[in-house]
């Protein structure tokens, strides 16, 4: 049985369509990632799946149950879920232990406070006020409150946004341990690295729709090449010559695709060692001067850019 199955999901706010007909299946024991820029509809989607927002249209099934049944059944379903919301601020004046104890009291079967604090490595902060915790510790506490019910399915909405790299890795470890124990996860993120690291499958969302779906490897492979070469030209002051056209670039050996962006041009290439010398030779012939040249392995970020022509993060 699938952990989550939804079809034809639609949600409108006034005249904005947040979710525009979305189909999704998350298998049991899978870690599934919803990727996309801010405003893509990720949070609306996950909150519909969590039963917190009613969709305008569509069908949702979570762990084989629906949100539209009676209160008792809904409560029974909530017993089996762990949910972390994007913008919850837990009470500042309660201690870590008091907060976990409070959340734990809502569930019939739950981890002990000790167990769950060990899961998120917050034992030392047991008696600290929530208001005194660092961002990463607060986030781990939020995940602790989601894990306390021993959920079968964990929802995480941008769990690591705004955290430093070390806190982020600590949270990844927490999620890794939950999965190792057999849990299913649905998470949203706009960090590609996070998705590649954690997720078995990802769905890339844009404007309320899924525009690509697959394993991170298969999505990257869909670019047709593994490397990305980015370059930018100097203003050309003092040097004659003009920038090369897209056609010329595409014709270079090993180049699969050309994506002009605002301040640079990105080439998806199969073999860097052939493409780069050819590019340099072409620029030399044109008399153009480089101001930037960089290469990296293709990432989900490149997949998003190639699909939408936009950067994923607008910062």
């Amino acid at each position: 049985m699938a952990a989550i199955r939804c079809t034809g999901l639609v949600k409108r706010y006034d005249d904005v369509v947040a979710v525009a007909g979305l189909d999704l299946t998350v298998e049991a024991r899978e870690c599934f990632g919803l990727l996309g820029p801010n405003g893509a509809g990720k949070t609306t989607t996950i909150e519909i799946l969590e039963g917190l927002t009613a969709p305008d249209a569509g069908d949702v099934e979570v762990l084989g149950m629906r949100w539209t049944v009676g209160a008792a059944e809904t409560r029974a379903l909530r017993e089996r879920l762990g949910i972390q919301l994007q913008d919850t601020q837990l009470a500042d004046k309660l201690t870590v232990e008091e907060t976990v104890r409070l959340f734990r009291s809502f569930y019939r079967s739950a981890h002990s406070v000790d167990e769950v604090l060990a899961l998120v490595e917050l034992e030392e902060k047991r008696t600290s006020w929530v208001g005194k915790l660092s961002g990463g510790q607060k986030q781990r506490l939020a995940v602790a409150c989601a894990l306390v019910s021993r959920p079968e399915l964990l929802f995480l909405d941008e769990p690591t946004t705004g955290l430093d790299p070390q806190s982020r890795r600590q949270l990844w470890d927490v999620i890794g341990r939950f999965r190792a124990a057999g849990g299913s996860v649905l998470l949203t993120t706009h960090y590609m690295e996070e998705a590649e690291r954690l997720c078995d499958r990802v769905a890339i969302m844009d404007h309320g729709k899924i525009i690509a779906l697959g394993t991170p490897q298969s999505l990257i492979a869909s670019l047709g090449a593994e490397h990305v070469v980015e370059f930018a030209l100097a203003d050309g002051a003092g040097r004659p010559g003009s920038p090369p056209g897209t056609d010329e670039l595409a014709a270079l050996p090993g180049v699969r695709a050309v994506r002009p962006a605002v301040d640079r041009i990105a080439l998806t290439v199969e073999e860097v060692h052939r493409a780069v010398p050819a590019l340099l030779a072409l620029l030399e012939r044109r008399g153009a001067e480089l101001s930037l040249l960089a290469t990296h392995h293709a990432t989900l970020e490149d997949v998003f850019v190639s699909l939408t022509g936009r950067q994923l993060r607008d910062e």
Binding site: R78, L81, L85, A91, K93, S105
Partner: protein
Amino acid sequence: MSDHPLVQLSLARMREFYREPEAVFWVFGFPIVLAFALGIAFRNRGPGELRVAVLRGAGDSVVAAAVGRAPGLSPVVLDSTEARLQLRTGRVALLVVPGAPVVYRFDSTRTESRLARLEVDDALQRARGRIDVARVTDERVTEPGSRYIDFLIPGLLGMNLMGSGLWGVGFSVVQARTKRLLKRFMATPMRRSHYLLAFVLSRLVFLFVEVAALVGFGWLMFRVGVRGSIGAVAAITVLGALSFAGLGMLVASRARTIEAVSGLMNLVMLPMWILSGTFFSYARFPDAMQPFVKALPLTALNDALRAVMIDGSSLAHLGGPLGIVSVWGLVSFLVALRIFRWR
């Protein structure tokens, strides 16, 4: 048992409250400070000592001595300019010019001055040898419960029940809503009734402390007693606290921001601060307003508290005001449940 959600939610409410020093002051400290200040300012002094000026000149010390022997009069010998100034500004009630005849200079429209004239004349005549022909004795009475502080303490109790009920519930609910904590709770199997009941339970615990502090202070400082039964006072305060918790729930049921709920809260409380007879009797308002004033929950609560504390009434005679308090609480709570925004 201690892991029951209702217990945990109530504990959380109480912890959040007592870990906020400002909130603790406004609920417990402020009414006591207010009672103290007002109790001192309006303590019953009776007419007090009357200051009487004696004009400097021949015979002033004899006159001053005669006046000084009379109880309730306090003479000062002053120069002419200073005496006129003090008389004009009301710092002395009367100016005595010694001589033959003795002249009393005073403003006859001031009660105090006329009283001073009578007392001073009496003292001077007796000093010169007048014999009273009829034998009289004074019998002084101070009726317990008739002082301003006796009126004030029950009123402050009522006002405090209103304030802490509305703020305690309303503010916390809206804060939980703006912090998305309410939504987070909705994502658990928590029962909504438990969430709301926890407010009521934690209110009742603090209520006990609140009432004990104010009533205890009134007794220790001003000997303000409870004429009726303590049980009746307890029952009325519990009912009042529940009613205002319901009203607080209603005020907070839709508001999304602290600013919005603060505005609503003041809108609800301000009329009652003024109209409900906390600091002065609402009988001073025009007759046409009386039905409206009496229908306010704080008016009814204050009336009930005063009836028990000052007049010693029993609950059986307070059906009217207690009915008003109950109806307000019940209706607010039911409406709040229907329109409550849970996220």
